[in-house]
Symmetry: C2
Subunit: 268 residues, 2 copies
Amino acid sequence: MTQHVFDEAIALTPIGDNQWAGQTHPAYANMVGPFGGVTTAQVVNAMMQHPQRLGDPIALTVNFCAAVADGAFTITAIPVRTNRSTQHWTLAMTQGDETVFTGTAVTAVRRDTWSLDEEPMPQCPPPAEVPVPDRVAPMEFVKRYEQRVIAGPLPQVWDGSGDSSLSRLWVRDKPPRPLDFVSLAAISDIFYPRVFVRRSTHVPAGTVTLTTYFHVNAAEIAQVGDDFLLGQARAQAFRNGFFDQTAQLWSPAGVMLVSTHQLVYYKQ
Amino acid sequence: MTQHVFDEAIALTPIGDNQWAGQTHPAYANMVGPFGGVTTAQVVNAMMQHPQRLGDPIALTVNFCAAVADGAFTITAIPVRTNRSTQHWTLAMTQGDETVFTGTAVTAVRRDTWSLDEEPMPQCPPPAEVPVPDRVAPMEFVKRYEQRVIAGPLPQVWDGSGDSSLSRLWVRDKPPRPLDFVSLAAISDIFYPRVFVRRSTHVPAGTVTLTTYFHVNAAEIAQVGDDFLLGQARAQAFRNGFFDQTAQLWSPAGVMLVSTHQLVYYKQ
């Protein structure tokens, strides 16, 4: 069986205690440097491979400090504090002497408790009934995701006509790949900058920091298989160069898989 | 003029490059250890005092790795990457050899751009028309905040009757203190665990990680003075030991000051 291109992209070589070597993959190129989601996935993959890892990821914050240059990088993933059922991590990616990415994560052993999704999955037509977009953004990584946009597409005309930043879409890896924590971390960064959708105006924009909370364990993620996820994203405040973006991803069965938040730089 | 008790609590002594010494303050004690908001404020205060700081905080993520013991602590705040207009920080608090707190932050020099609050401040009666709660939680830090709860109070009866996790409240330091980034970081952690509100059931709960996005600069914060802020918080998903909590704080004039998100541990 041929390896999925996502697995090629996240492949790492251990090079010492808490350290891995990897390299950017052309299939996930963004406008400048790689798609932030795949950079995040590479770092999460290091943590997942760590021999001392306790439990599954429950929280992840990553900071994009600088454009990642095409080529080799080093990842550091350190379990700085291990408790009985939770573990705290510091994460970094460097290229030469440059820190290009920092982060923290929490992993945990979950126990069955009272549970409830308070934010329901929005009612949407199934993926088969949503047309494939006529046009998508020209970046290479966009071709690695199958998207069916229900509301709030990437504007086709940049005419300043937007009035809401809300997007809803079905999304999965292309070709389909069974979902796991690493690919879910990548898909959590799939939403276009909300400033495009709200303003129908194209301005330079890029994620500064991304926080993802995982609401499922490995077995629950495996149940999703390679099916589509329903994503929803919107902004709360755009202010003097930065806006926030709050999003959720649900399984087709309506289980909230992640809630995620990011702060995005924009110009003008 | 007597120093405000919050300023006493956040006071730090520089002890070397990127390092400060401080200690917990009994006025901000929580059930076990200090109120997480004041621990966060102590660390933010170190960053604010750093001689190499560029611009104002725009994003902050903190992780509560272990209960902070009453007494002395050491804070490390390192500017790991400085760009032209943004700066990335790693943050930590230690007690002896133990890491009790980790974090990252981003500071930035903002430029005037097109701006918009997409999430409007909810219509609420002014603070003077909202009664002071009859009863509040017994922890010492609760006495350091003046709160007027409009919706979703701490349940008075633990009878399992809740049906929504939404709370809305006016809040400020008590006695009033002019707002700044440090106190705003503390107030961002003021919301009771949503599991109490949703279930009217008292279960052990505590914040694991907290992310705050600041939508204002220092001058805009200064305009708030010592007035009340309007806060709103709700949960999106409760699942097997952890739930998320998403919140906003507005100035009385309706400007969104912060949007904030946390993941909270709960038992049962």
